[in-house]
């Protein structure tokens, strides 16, 4: 085959929503390069999920089934997908840039002597070939990358980079394949996923959120933003480094490893806007950013921006909000 293979992700029969973003990327790339698209779902007992993919505007669907794929391990995923890629010989292998893909895809690409272009945000076509974009320096710069090696080439797609439209079409054919795996060679032994103690705050229900980042400099300055949050009648949230430092509890972290929120107002103070933070708050209706760096990536998604020193702006804003709301 020549074409595009899109690997989707599921666990215990539930789709990872980024699967459909990767699928949308694959369908678009297939159109631009005139290549057929095959979608694959791997696991144990995935034939039902495979038939859902068949209606999603792809040319073929593979259900990659194996006992050893029941609970994810890197070794089993790499071995099974290596087997499939050798069988299908696609030009491109596209994956959603999930935590699971981060865990196995670099190893998979290395099996083929290839480099995975990870966390890409889009592509352009230059002289008939795809040139992929990635963020550098936590989103402060963008870079264009081109593959120089023959097929297969591996690309993972950043969260939110493509829209997961539910395209309907004639049903594609579904084939079931069983990879050849040496089960005794699998080395990781996973236990059941768990959550830490129950959350006392549910940020997803908050109408207004004031979120603080590393620009706050030290723990002793947190009350400054707490006062702003109180003035707005807002919940206080934070970027990861604030929770890593123990300045606020983990349950107030917004982002890919924290909570996903969608308030009416999300006001960020001293947060740069790394993608892992943005995925947790991009759905907010109105985004305000206060940052001293006019180039901070957070401004790319803000409705209102204030460039300035938060230690001047926040007290002034707290006063103004108190006055307006009294």
């Amino acid at each position: 085959m020549s074409g595009i293979l899109v690997l989707t992700e599921q666990s215990s029969g539930a789709w990872h929503p980024m699967s459909f973003e990767a699928l949308a990327a694959g369908i678009q790339l297939g159109r631009d390069l005139s290549l057929p698209v095959t979608a694959c779902v791997f696991g144990r007992g995935v034939s039902g999920l495979a038939s859902e993919l068949a209606g999603r505007n792809v040319q073929a669907v593979v259900a990659l089934e194996h006992e050893a794929l029941g609970q994810y391990t890197a070794d089993a995923a790499v071995a099974a997908i290596e087997w499939l890629v050798r069988d299908l010989q696609p030009d491109y292998v596209l994956l959603p840039h999930t935590y699971q893909v981060r865990d196995f895809a670099p190893r998979l690409a290395t099996r083929f002597g290839r480099v995975l272009l990870s966390d890409t945000t889009g592509y352009t076509i230059e002289s008939g070939a795809a040139v992929f974009q990635r963020q550098l320096f936590q989103g402060k710069l963008t870079a264009d990358f081109a593959f120089q090696a023959p097929a297969p080439n591996f690309v993972s797609i950043q969260a939110g980079a493509f829209r997961a439209d539910a395209l309907e079409s004639d049903a594609a054919s579904v084939s079931e394949k069983a990879p050849v795996l040496n089960v005794s060679s699998l080395r990781q032994h996973p236990e059941a996923p768990f959550r830490e103690a129950a959350r006392a705050v549910d940020l997803s229900a908050a109408e207004r959120i004031v979120a603080v980042g590393r620009g706050i400099q030290e723990e002793g300055n947190i009350p400054l933003v707490q006062e702003l949050a109180d003035a707005f009648g807002a919940e206080l949230a934070a970027s990861r480094p604030i929770c890593d430092n123990g300045w606020l509890p983990m349950e107030r972290q917004v982002g890919s490893s924290g909570q996903t929120v969608a308030p009416k107002l999300y006001l960020s103070v001293g947060i740069s806007g790394a993608i892992q933070h943005l995925v947790g708050m991009k759905g907010s209706r109105c985004v305000v950013a206060i940052n001293k760096d006019p180039e901070a990536p957070i401004f790319e998604i803000a409705d209102y921006g204030i460039v300035g020193d938060l230690f001047d702006v926040v007290p002034a804003l707290t006063e103004a909000v108190k006055k307006a709301r009294s």
Binding site: T98, R107, L141, P193, F194, R240, G258, T260, A324
Partner: protein
């Protein structure tokens, strides 16, 4: 227990990033540099494991001459010795050939555990440790938030998405990629800084390791991101900015 920590020196977080004349990298002349954030946590995890189990912590860094300052900082915090793969033109190595370079330097050490950061702040590919594991034939796990070593194996806590975690066990030797926040970072003591000056830093080059730069993928150009949203920037003194914002939030966005 012998632990190898792969540590990268990257431009300091608040640096002003200026694109150089080639259009393919930064003008480094006015940058300051620091240890990549998750790598500092990986080093701390290694030092804590050594405190529990004894053994040795070896730092491995590939980079130009300036990387020595990051290496010295790690030695001052308590690493026992270091390997510096000194290479001016690291940009010519794609992720795979860079991992080959590090794996070649690591292989003769026969460490029980190799720790890397989960992602570099500059390139952000999030892959180097996982590729090293494949090249060295070792099991691996990523985005690690806790490490318990016991006898022949290791049990780690992996971070999953949206606040979920999972424990995974595997035999040693193994490669782990460490997430920021796994522990509390220590500061170097004056004594540590003094001692660091006498610790061994072994220099190696790509040629000595027999690794060539490769580019299965090549970086064509870098540029400022394109803005997708029309942001209204509010100008003036802080009090004016605050007043304007409150107006907008009240009457335009209607969120207060």
């Amino acid at each position: 227990m012998k632990i190898l920590v792969a540590l990268k020196q990257v431009p300091a977080r608040d640096s002003l990033l200026r694109i150089d004349a080639s259009g393919r990298w930064l003008d480094e002349s006015d940058l300051s540099f620091e240890i990549n954030e998750p790598d500092a946590y990986a080093l701390e995890a290694a030092l804590q494991l050594k405190e529990q189990h004894g053994g040795e912590v070896v730092v491995l860094s590939a980079g130009p001459e300036r990387a020595v300052s990051a290496i010295r900082e790690a030695l001052a915090k308590g690493a026992d010795r270091a390997i510096h793969v000194e290479q001016e033109n690291l940009g010519e190595f794609d992720t795979l050939s860079l991992a080959k370079l590090l794996a070649a330097a690591a292989s003769s050490e026969k460490a029980d555990l190799i720790l890397t950061g989960l992602q570099s702040d500059d390139l952000g590919s999030g892959q180097t440790g996982v590729i090293m594991a494949e090249l060295l034939g070792l099991p691996h796990a990523t985005i690690i938030m806790a490490v318990e070593a016991s006898g022949q194996g290791v049990r780690v806590k992996r971070e999953l998405e949206a606040g979920w975690f999972q424990h995974v066990s595997m035999p040693l030797p193994a490669v782990l990629t460490i997430q920021s926040g796994i522990n509390k970072l220590r500061y170097a003591t004056l004594m540590g800084i003094k001692k660091a000056k006498t610790k061994e830093v072994r220099k190696l080059t790509a040629a000595e390791l027999g690794v060539q730069p490769e580019s299965s993928v090549s970086l064509l150009r870098i540029y400022q991101p394109k803005r997708v949203k029309q942001t209204q920037m509010l100008a003036g003194a802080p009090a004016e900015q605050a007043a304007q914002l409150v107006e907008k939030l009240k009457f335009e966005a209607r969120v207060i």
